[in-house]
């Protein structure tokens, strides 16, 4: 009798997108359960169905695949089957306790040694303590960990961690494996080994629920495949049909389809032949005389036509046979598969010839293996004697292209070369991103979670809820900058050092302190307006956006305004690492001089206040005082300057909103908030790093990995901002993240907002309507600062 291992009946799962409601929701669910009530039905605001009405059954020896695009509900299904969470409707019955989940994140602790991790994992899977000593040694040997076994896992490479995780799984023999995207990391050899392990497990009668994008494995292993789309089951079918349906959905949405290959199902040791297609015992099938030859019958050459010729000898007639040739090299098996057509073979046999128009292999030695399949049952029927293998050597292509240049890699790809114009696509893409990053951000936002950017060497987090969670996560550190003056700022500190340094400056930015500055800001703005009174055309950045924040900061720090141009040039961090380092050095030298001056004659300014906090037992060291001064200048000047410039550009490009603001000056507050959201001055705040393994958007991030939050994207997240690409000065609510969130939120946010509010109000009152000084507003290309981190203008020509 078939033994059912897993029975999923009409399972749905509801999630909430509102982190602030999680305590309430968890409490309500717990209380309902304590009262014997079923889970609440229906959706509330901010909730969605991650999975709807899924039915699934896995019998012993069955392998079921789950495919779907990101966000389809695969991981939710895995979490439900694992029992990590409970379904909102329906039920999941597991008829075995021997269930093991393999996922990419793993649960290895970086602080513990390899040995301790192995013992922990064995304990989690219920292995008695007495058995763990012997098993630990076996696992360590299998993972090739020797001296490293007693070193903390945090010191392991990603490949070593993957090997260790795999070695542990390989020692467990559950009734049911839950595989959620397999194991990440490791080299090609490791991945092949993992595939081999899974294939052997299935061949040995193991059962599996399998969520993976690897179509090769899905088609090879799965009896049936469930296709999910937006949490809903679309169909359950054989692998090829399901992948085909997946691809139709992908094409509809402009996503890349999955490759489909000819079915080559693995056959289990205990698998009976399907009754629908009974076949005679195939008798003896021998494949021999395998030869791989070039066009002229000699040695095959890279990129040239070739033939695989072999003989099949059969003792009985074989109908509907498919021959397949696998080419392998070393540990990469198969490197390529050449499926044949359906043929019939009568005794004593046939010679089959497979012509390859272009042998896409680099010079070297290869293995070739011929297998025969019954096309109706997809079972491998031969060769029956272990024959069907040969070795062949591919020679160099020869000719004018030169052989030396074509020896590397694995494959020889036939290529038509052209001499193209001098267009650098990377530079072109970078320029396009620099001009308008929002199409890119929209693609990022369409993803359910973060992704790793090799160019940044960091995970990029773009969704509003995930950025918010990241900023509040105590397992995330800001200590990513270790060298230079920035490493001493509060930006690069965690509690308690962060709080200690932040408290030095918070007094300067309280509501009362900023209110006291309002008249000064108004006077400065009026002075700047007086300066352009006689001009019909002027640069808004030069006369307002750069000057007002600069002069406010100079006043706050008690610095002479004559130094502003020099400091402004140093504060521009867009010149690359060398220029930035040089500028940072100049700023440090400058402030070191100012500090010495203030030590001798303290004044009524922020630098003197900071120095007052410094004494042998005081709050801050001299290095920290210096770093805080530099940070205040950089943060207070550059971001507010960008806010003013970006804000004015937005008004000029949206005349209806500009007119609305002029007619309703009381809207200046919400207008500034919308400017901050729509064209945030900071797109990438300083990088964070995970202190321990964390999860963002269902994706595991290893300890030590760098994480970059993209505020520009988060502030256009359609899940939070309806119609996010519309500039609306009356938008409410407007929960943008332009000033960050959590302990590292900008302490000078209120001052920045106040400066923008007063400046825009006074400019509207005194200068009236301004116009973009460009021939065509539609085609006007603003000159953005050449920095990815901040988004601000270098100039903004306007006319009255």
């Amino acid at each position: 009798m078939t033994r059912t291992l897993l029975d999923v009946k009409q399972v749905s799962k509801r999630y909430s997108l509102r982190p602030q409601a999680r305590l309430r929701d968890a409490t309500v669910d717990t209380l309902r359960e304590l009262c014997g009530l079923p889970a609440r039905q229906g959706l509330r605001d901010g909730e969605f169905w991650a999975l709807e009405n899924v039915d699934l059954r896995i019998d012993a020896g069955e392998v079921i695949g789950v495919i779907g695009h990101n966000g389809a509900g695969k991981s939710t299904l895995m979490n439900l089957v694992s029992g990590i969470i409970l379904p909102t409707t329906g039920s999941i019955a597991l008829h075995t306790d021997k269930v093991c989940r393999i996922d990419q994140g793993g649960v290895l602790s970086t602080q513990e040694t390899g040995r301790e991790n192995i013992r922990m994992q064995l304990a989690l899977y219920g292995v008695p303590v007495a058995d763990t000593v012997a098993e630990t040694e076996a696992i360590a040997a299998f993972a090739d960990l020797h001296e490293q076994l007693d070193a903390p896992v945090g010191t392991y490479s990603a490949g070593m961690r993957s090997r260790l995780g795999f070695a542990i799984y390989a020692r467990l023999h559950p009734d049911l494996f839950l595989v959620d995207e397999g194991l990440g990391g490791g080299d090609q050899r490791f991945r092949e080994r993992f595939r081999g392990f899974i294939a052997d497990y299935v061949a040995g009668g193991g059962s599996m629920l399998f969520a993976m994008h690897d179509t090769n494995m899905i088609q090879t292993l799965c009896d049936r495949v469930l296709l999910l789309d937006g949490g809903r089951p679309v169909l359950t079918a054989d692998a090829t049909t399901a992948i085909d349906a997946y691809n139709r959905l992908a094409i509809e949405r402009g996503l890349p389809p999955l490759p489909i290959r000819r079915p080559n199902r693995i056959v289990r040791q205990d698998q009976p032949a399907p009754p629908a297609a009974p076949s005679e015992p195939p008798g003896s099938i021998v494949v021999d005389s395998i030869a791989v030859v070039g066009k002229d019958g000699g040695q095959p050459r890279s990129g040239k036509p070739a033939e695989v010729v072999f003989t099949v000898r059969a003792t009985q007639p074989l109908g509907d046979v498919v021959a397949a040739i696998q080419v392998s090299r070393g540990e990469i098996a198969p490197l390529a598969t050449l499926p044949g057509d359906v043929v019939s073979i009568d005794p004593p046999g046939v010679t089959l010839r497979c012509k390859v128009r272009c042998l896409a292999l680099v010079p070297g030695e290869y293995d070739v293996r011929v297998s025969l399949y019954d096309s109706r049952t997809e079972r491998c029927i031969g060769p029956t004697d272990g024959s069907g293998r040969a070795v062949f050597r591919v020679g160099p292509a020869g000719g004018r292209r030169g052989d030396a240049a074509g020896r590397g890699g694995l494959l020889h790809l036939p290529a038509a070369w052209e001499t193209a114009a001098l267009v650098d696509p990377v530079a072109a893409a970078a320029a396009a991103f620099h001009d308008d990053p929002y199409p890119t951000y929209r693609r990022w936002l369409a993803q359910p979670g973060p992704f790793f950017s090799p160019s940044h060497g960091a995970w990029i987090v773009s969704r509003h809820d995930q950025v918010s969670a990241l900023f509040r996560d105590p397992l995330v550190t800001n200590r990513t900058v270790k060298a230079g003056v920035l490493g001493d700022t509060m930006l690069a500190q965690d509690p308690p050092d962060h709080g200690r340094l932040r408290s030095l400056v918070t007094e300067a930015f309280t509501g009362a302190a900023v209110r006291a500055l309002e008249s000064r800001i108004r006077a400065l703005t009026d002075e700047q307006i007086d300066g352009v009174a006689g001009l019909a055309r002027f640069d808004f950045m030069e006369h307002f956006a750069d000057r007002i924040p600069g002069r406010v900061m100079m006043g706050l720090l008690g610095l002479p305004e004559t130094d502003l141009p020099m400091l402004a040039a140093c504060a521009d961090m867009a010149g690359g690492p060398e220029v930035s380092a040089r500028n940072m050095g100049r700023l440090s030298d400058y402030f070191a001089g100012i500090i010495r001056e203030r030590q001798n004659s303290p004044g009524d300014d922020l630098v003197s206040s900071l120095l007052a906090a410094h004494d042998p037992g005081g709050q801050a060291s001299m290095r920290e005082v210096l770093a805080t001064c530099v940070l205040l200048l950089l943060a207070g000047y550059e971001t507010t300057s960008s806010l003013l410039g970006n804000g004015m550009l937005l008004l000029l490009r949206h005349p209806d909103q500009y007119a609305r603001l002029r007619e309703n000056p009381e809207l200046v507050g919400p207008a500034v908030e919308e400017m901050l959201r729509f064209e945030s001055p900071t797109h990438f705040p300083s990088a964070r790093a995970a202190k321990e393994p964390i999860e963002i958007g269902g994706l595991g991030i290893a300890a030590g990995d760098r994480i970059l939050a993209c505020l520009g994207a988060a502030n256009r997240d359609p899940a939070v901002f309806p119609d996010p690409d519309r500039f609306d000065i009356g938008r409410s609510p407007n929960r943008h993240l332009a000033f960050g969130l959590g302990i590292h939120s900008c302490p000078g946010a209120l001052l920045s907002r106040t400066e923008a509010r007063i400046a825009l109000t006074r400019i509207n009152e005194r200068l009236g309507e301004l116009h973009l000084d460009a021939a065509d507003i539609e085609t006007f290309r603003p000159s953005w600062r050449p920095a990815e981190r901040v988004r601000g203008l270098t100039s903004l020509p306007v006319r009255r």
């Binding site: 039920s91 597991l94 989690l124 219920g126 467990l172 040791q269 809820d465």
Partner: protein, 320 residues
């Protein structure tokens, strides 16, 4: 012969060919040991939208099975906790009783400077304060350890269907370890301050168990919200101050004073006094030391039960 994909010499053997060194998972034992869960047609595990309490029998059986299967996990988590506490600390185990020693020192200097009364509750005030700190520490450590049941193990809870019994067992082992240290410290204090032990001293040890269980039980009751809401942490940082005020940790208020009335109404204060009474014959109710732990056990089991029920609901929100 069946064709195999990518056969490799070093591939692990399939289950059917597993050797003597291969492992079976815990289900081998647990299912066999619980025939009520293993007969055909009855799932071993059922994850449903309906309340688990609708089938009390299954609920209790699963509880018992999780508790029986938790010792290996509890032991490893306990070892991990010890490593995290002591591997990177030069002071190591000293930290476990440092507050008690410091309290004794402060009171001793206070006495010599005439800032503190010579005697409190009929014994040397330094001994009284150190004992109070020892008991207060027992309560607070238990409370904070169980309060962080979910928050402190979220990496595990988010990846595996881990019954709460594993981490809870680790916490109990840790508390047991600290309890033994505390007993030794108590004995040292009595010897140092020449306080003769009462014949009911074993009852004091039992009362100390009750104090830890009370803290652990109350911690379990707030563990689910604590994992999801930071405000609980703010409250917890103020808890020692509240505790030291409403219980006789460092002082014995006048019975008629406001604080005296608070102490009289506070069951935790009864337990503190009961332990002192049992340890060295101070005024207090021995019945509190005897019965208190039983009540604490009830609170603990209630908290344990709540966390079992709340686990999937809390973990679900920790995923978001």
């Amino acid at each position: 012969m069946a064709d195999r994909l990518s056969p490799e010499a070093d591939s692990p053997q399939p289950p059917a060919a597993s050797g003597a060194g291969d492992l079976g998972l815990a289900g081998d034992l647990s299912v066999a040991g619980d025939p009520g869960l293993a007969f055909p047609g009855t799932p071993v595990r059922l994850h449903a939208s309906t309340s688990r309490l609708r089938d009390p029998g299954r609920c209790l059986r699963e509880w018992a099975r999780d508790a029986a299967g938790s010792p290996p996990v509890a032991w490893r988590l306990f070892v991990r906790s010890l490593i995290q506490q002591y591997r990177h600390s030069s002071l190591g185990i000293v930290l476990a009783f440092a507050p008690v020693v410091l309290t004794a020192l402060v009171f001793t200097f206070g006495r010599r400077s005439h800032l503190v009364a010579g005697e409190i509750g009929g014994v040397n005030s330094a001994f009284f304060g150190a004992c109070g700190m020892l008991m207060g520490q027992a309560f607070l450590e238990a409370f904070n350890a169980t309060r962080r049941l979910f928050a402190g193990n979220q990496a595990l809870f988010r990846r595996q269907s881990l019954p709460v019994e594993g981490p809870l067992g680790a916490i109990l082992l840790d508390l047991g370890f600290r309890y033994l240290i505390r007993l030794a410290v108590l004995a040292l204090l009595m010897a140092l301050f020449a306080v003769p032990p009462a014949v009911t001293l074993p009852l004091a040890a039992w009362g100390l168990v009750g104090l830890s269980l009370t803290g652990a039980g109350l911690g379990l009751l707030v563990a689910p919200p604590s994992a999801l809401q930071q405000d609980i942490n703010v409250f917890s940082s103020a808890l020692p101050l509240i505790l030291f005020t409403v219980t006789p940790v460092f002082m014995v208020p006048e019975p008629e004073s406001f604080l005296g009335l608070v102490h009289a109404a506070n069951p935790l204060a009864w337990l503190f006094e009961g332990i002192r009474a049992a340890a060295y014959g101070a005024p207090g109710s021995l019945a509190a030391a005897a019965i208190g732990p039983l009540v604490a056990l009830l609170i603990f089991v209630l908290g344990w039960f709540l966390c079992r029920i709340a686990r999937p609901h809390v973990v679900e929100r920790m995923l978001v």
